[in-house]
Amino acid sequence: MMVNIRVNGKQYKKDIEPRLLLVNFLRDELNLTGTHIGCDTSNCGACTVLMDGKSVKSCTVLAMQANNHEITTIEHEDPELNAIKDAYVEEQGLQCGFCTPGMIMETFYLLKDAGNKDVDDDYIKKKLSGNLCRCTGYRSIIDSIKKANEKIREKEEIHVSR
């Protein structure tokens, strides 16, 4: 079946099997291998991408369901997303790096979703319930998210004051 999916701002038209999962569409058809697979049961969130701006588990979405929708992955170029990536590097919010793309995409979503709400430890912990990391114990991930929030807010302020 034909699908039309916009990924990171680029339109892709592909003929696929209806059973193809979005994660395999991204990884195998488009070679965007930053989105990972860590489980079979929708537990780990390594496959998290945004669909129309909302985080979803691409291992639990059919590529067909994304037809005519907009997908954003870790490979996307965006100033806010870059700020988040920088924060993860500075805070060493990763060890083996396997959960990281999913963590970053969920961070991207949760910070947007929080709007102007303050994101403290408790808020972040709750919102990360769909992502597993076996290496870091999450402390550095939470610090990365807080730092990312600061970075993004700083940028916004600069923007406003200009």
Binding site: M1, E17, P18, R19, L21, N24, D40, T41, S42, G45, T48, M51, K54, S55, V56, K57, C59, T60, V61, L62, M64, Q65, N67, E106, Y109, L110, K127, S129, G130, N131
Partner: protein, 285 residues
């Protein structure tokens, strides 16, 4: 792990959906958000030759306050959990929707799907029972309304026929106080058990109406009829709650397993139930 092959349809309106369902009946399944069914397909626990995605049908995603609070089958769980209308009119549903699975699953999954899947561990069936919700069901020969108490038959089994579509969830009991008390094990976000309570008081602080639903204490969600009847007209205190719990025990089945013996589980459930009643009663005053 990948699903077996299937045909995939995206009807654009209800009429074409009905047509497809009439054609494929038992060999088909409706896909709303897919958060229950895709995992089953991936594990190949089930194989469904025809998948019918209803996300392209206009008019199925709504959250509206008319006489009742009305929710469409494509309303995403996250939308329900963020809706002001729901928060104002149905705090139980608002609270419970925010406790389903995790953020990503809530963004994709629907309240309707959670109901129709009728996994005994799903959260929405018990919530619907506590709310006394009505379900509008549509098929090619017309519409009918089924009350939630008539809907959940057994694990994964509902009153839906193979060509039926859940087209609307209606909640009459609005303006109540309520909360969903979900007890999970350390690592899982599925309920080991959960209690949904929806409550309204008379001006003298006696219970005017109460709905209680339980998750994962039987092969299907349980509505605690006897307990509700017992509590009506009463002021809730420690003693009344304990008595209510002993009535509840007759309606549920708990087994020994690695999460604890039957007795240990009863102890936990009791605590959740009694504290929950107290909290919602307090909120209602």
């Amino acid at each position: 792990m990948y699903p077996d092959k299937f045909q995939y349809f995206t009807p654009g309106d209800i009429a074409s959906l009905e047509e497809l369902l009439d054609k494929y009946r038992d060999d088909s399944k409706i896909l709303a958000g897919g958060q229950s069914i895709i995992p089953l397909l991936k594990m190949r626990f089930t194989s469904i030759p025809n998948i019918i995605d209803i996300s392209n049908i206009k008019g199925l995603n709504f959250i509206e306050l008319n006489d009742d609070l009305e929710i469409g089958p494509m309303a995403r769980t996250a939308e329900v959990a963020a809706s002001n209308i729901v928060a104002m009119n149905c705090p139980l549903l608002f609270d419970a929707a925010g406790k389903v699975a995790d953020p990503q699953v809530r963004n994709m999954g629907t309240v309707g799907g959670d109901i129709c899947e009728a996994d005994p561990r799903n959260d929405m069936p018990a919530v619907m029972l506590a709310l006394n919700a009505d379900f509008e069901i549509t098929n090619s020969s017309g519409k009918r309304t089924v009350n939630s108490t008539e809907f959940f038959k057994d694990a994964y089994t509902t009153a839906l026929d193979s060509n039926d579509i859940l087209t609307k969830i209606s909640i009459k009991n609005i303006g109540y106080h309520g909360k969903y008390f979900k007890f999970t094990t350390m690592a899982s976000d599925f309920a080991l058990f959960a209690v949904a309570i929806n409550m309204k008081l008379n001006s003298d602080e006696t219970v005017k109406d109460i709905g209680i639903g339980l998750t994962n204490v039987s092969s299907t969600a349980v509505k605690a009829n006897e307990v509700e009847a017992y509590l009506k007209g009463k002021k809730i205190d420690e003693k009344i709650s304990e008595e209510a719990f002993s009535k509840l025990l007759n309606m549920i089945e708990l087994d020994d397993d690695y999460n604890g013996t039957k007795e240990e589980k009863q102890k936990i459930l009791k605590k959740i139930f009694v504290n929950g009643l107290k909290e919602v009663y307090g909120d209602s005053k």
